[in-house]
């Protein structure tokens, strides 16, 4: 089990603030956050490349905060791979094996086993400058696995790969994890997190703001930032007083079907659940608001309308609907949100 306890690190223009999380042995933990959120720094602190100002890192109960980098048994795959340019692929993979004091025969055996597993056995005599990004990534992975680490740290491993290679590498990472290696993987891609993680930690402005299973993060996001990460655009602070309404962002009221009273939290609904019409129509929907189109963004599923209706609402409609209603920027529209599509999350 890897535990990060109250880690802080201050730089002139950035600081990590009281970071704590734990990863069970064999788990796949994804740390999700925007670029510049401090994700890479956390990995560097775990690996020992950077010393924290405060806090500790423990591995299986042992405090390793001040242990030497080379004694930690934690493998780090850098975002830019850091494959040694003057060594062949084979020598790169053999590098940690030599540090471990294996003999030549054992090294050769292990190198070819790892190369086969990573499907780079045909590249062993090549120099890194002749390899593609995907190949370099595999060399870096094979090299780190040769260390037989207790824990593998991956810094944006899929970021610079094309779609096909991503799928391949994802299944490879899953396979490595299934073999029992604990993985801490950092990314800014929510989909990547959902696809791989047992547990997701969300980091924002140098702080972990939610730590849960991907499902829970998706269904129960703790902030607008996380909801946006999960692809939910309509996310508002909500307040329920006595009555039958929920007040969103202190501006707009919607019908309260949550059954809760006198509490606050968040309300969210999907862009697909917002119905747009040219004028007010009689229907069973209770939440109807007049608004103005402030932006029209083409997406692969149609058009995303951004409507100012007191609160900013995102609605997804088809191109045909948009044409039929002759929508343009500044058009006046009515939006309707079915009460059953609205989810209220009480804040803890």
């Amino acid at each position: 089990m890897l535990e990060i306890k109250h880690i802080s690190k201050k730089y002139k223009d950035f600081h990590l603030n009281d970071i704590s999380f734990s990863v069970k042995g064999g788990d796949y933990f994804v740390l999700l956050g925007e670029s510049g959120a401090g994700k890479s720094l956390i990995l560097e602190i775990i690996a020992g490349l950077v010393a924290p100002d405060n806090g500790e890192v423990t591995m299986n109960g042992k405090n390793i905060t001040n242990d030497k980098i080379q004694k930690r048994g934690i493998g780090l795959v850098f975002q830019d791979y850091a494959v040694f340019p003057h060594l062949t692929v084979k020598a790169n993979i053999a590098f940690p094996l030599k540090s471990r004091g294996l003999n030549k025969h054992e090294i050769n055996e292990k190198v070819s086993e790892l190369a086969k597993k990573m499907s780079i056995d045909h590249l062993l005599e090549r120099r890194p400058n002749t390899l593609s990004g995907g190949e370099l990534q595999r060399v870096a992975l094979a090299r780190t696995l040769a260390l037989e680490p207790d824990c593998l740290l991956l810094d944006e491993p899929l970021a610079s790969l094309d779609v096909q290679l991503r799928d391949d590498l994802r299944s490879l990472l899953r396979q490595i994890n299934n073999e029992g290696i604990t993985i801490v993987h950092i990314t800014h891609d929510f989909e990547e997190a959902v696809a791989l993680a047992d547990k997701v930690g969300i980091i924002h402005n140098g702080k972990i703001i939610q730590e849960a299973s991907p499902k829970e993060v998706f269904h129960n996001p703790k902030s607008k930032f996380i909801a946006n990460f999960a692809g939910i655009k309509n996310f508002y602070k909500a307040e329920i007083k006595l009555g039958e309404t929920i007040i969103l962002d202190k501006k707009v009221e919607i019908v309260n079907v949550s059954g809760k009273t006198q509490c606050s939290g968040f309300v969210m609904f999907r862009s697909e659940d917002v119905v747009v019409s040219g004028r007010k129509t009689e229907s069973s929907i209770c939440n109807n608001y007049q608004g103005r189109v402030i932006e029209m963004i083409p997406t692969k599923h149609g058009i995303e309308l951004i409507v100012d209706a007191g609160i900013i609402v995102s609605a997804l409609i088809t191109q045909q609907s948009s044409d039929k209603m002759s929508l343009a920027k500044d058009s006046s529209v009515w939006i309707s949100i079915k009460a059953s599509a609205i989810r209220f999350i009480e804040s803890s």
């Binding site: 690996a47 020992g48 490349l49 030497k68 980098i69 080379q70 934690i74 493998g75 780090l76 850098f78 830019d80 850091a82 040694f84 340019p85 003057h86 590098f95 940690p96 540090s99 471990r100 090299r143 780190t144 040769a146 260390l147």
Partner: protein, 260 residues
């Protein structure tokens, strides 16, 4: 616009050509004014042969010996920040700016029989003044900045990430230095070694003060000029320059080969 650019180019080429001519003309003039018979005769002169061999070998050994300490210092200067680093950087470049005759006087004081080092050397049965060891010290003093600077640039150009990655892969700092940092900086270090060697063997000012004898070639050229005049000094100069050029070109080619 285009024509003014062309005129500017023309002026630059002209000025550049003058500088090149300034370097080449005296050397070429010297070679032209020396007959091949004179050159052949000079190469047979045992005093000349001995001095060239002495100069090359002392410079070579002094470069290698001082490199053992200079390369680690370059690494420290490239990688570590410490109090007084600016001062250290200034100090290592001092020999480039001070007059070499003054450097010779300083070294002489440092290694003479009356100095601590001179006394220690003497107790070991070694005389530094008027000895190849003294010459090596003088050569190193004036030429070591070239190695230090080139090696420091070389180490600074090695991405620190690679060193950290190597540590993360379980290598000891010593192994990281020898397997990662040193090979990746090798080209710059090699260039630095060439420059140090070349600068050392051409040194006159500091060497002549520390050791007139045994005579290195630059001192021999000076002596022949003083005793017999220009026409006697010229063939030795030509031969020594040719030898220097052969070494310099060969080493440069080797450095290029390494680059590939």
């Amino acid at each position: 616009m285009k024509s003014s650019y062309n005129i500017l180019n023309l002026i630059f080429i002209l000025l550049g050509g003058l500088v090149l001519l300034f370097i080449i003309a005296p050397l070429l003039g010297m070679v032209i004014n020396t007959s091949s018979a004179e050159i052949i005769e000079t190469t047979k002169d045992t005093e000349v042969q001995k001095s060239i061999w002495l100069t090359l070998s002392i410079s070579f050994v002094s470069t290698l010996v001082f490199a053992i300490a200079a390369i680690p210092l370059s690494y420290l200067l490239a990688r570590k920040d410490f109090l007084g680093k600016g001062l250290v950087l200034g100090i290592i470049n001092l020999p480039v700016v001070i007059p070499h005759s003054a450097a010779g006087i300083a070294i002489l004081g440092f290694i003479s029989r009356d100095s601590v080092i001179g006394k220690i050397a003497e107790s070991l049965g070694l005389t530094l003044v008027g000895n190849p060891t003294g010459i090596a010290v003088a050569m190193a003093f004036v030429s070591v900045p070239f190695l230090l600077n080139a090696a420091r640039d070389g180490f600074a150009a090695v991405p620190e990430r690679l060193e950290k990655a190597a540590l993360n892969l379980g290598a000891s700092p010593t192994r990281v230095f020898f397997r990662i940092s040193l090979p990746l900086a090798a080209r710059s270090i090699f260039s630095g070694l060439i420059l140090m060697f070349a600068r050392g063997m051409s040194e006159f000012g500091a060497v002549v003060i520390v050791a007139y004898h045994p005579m290195t070639t630059p001192v021999l050229i000076y002596e022949r000029f003083g005793a017999f005049g220009l026409s006697y000094a010229r063939p030795v100069s030509v031969v020594f320059i040719l030898v220097c050029l052969v070494f310099f070109i060969a080493l440069r080619l080797m450095a290029k080969e390494k680059q590939k």
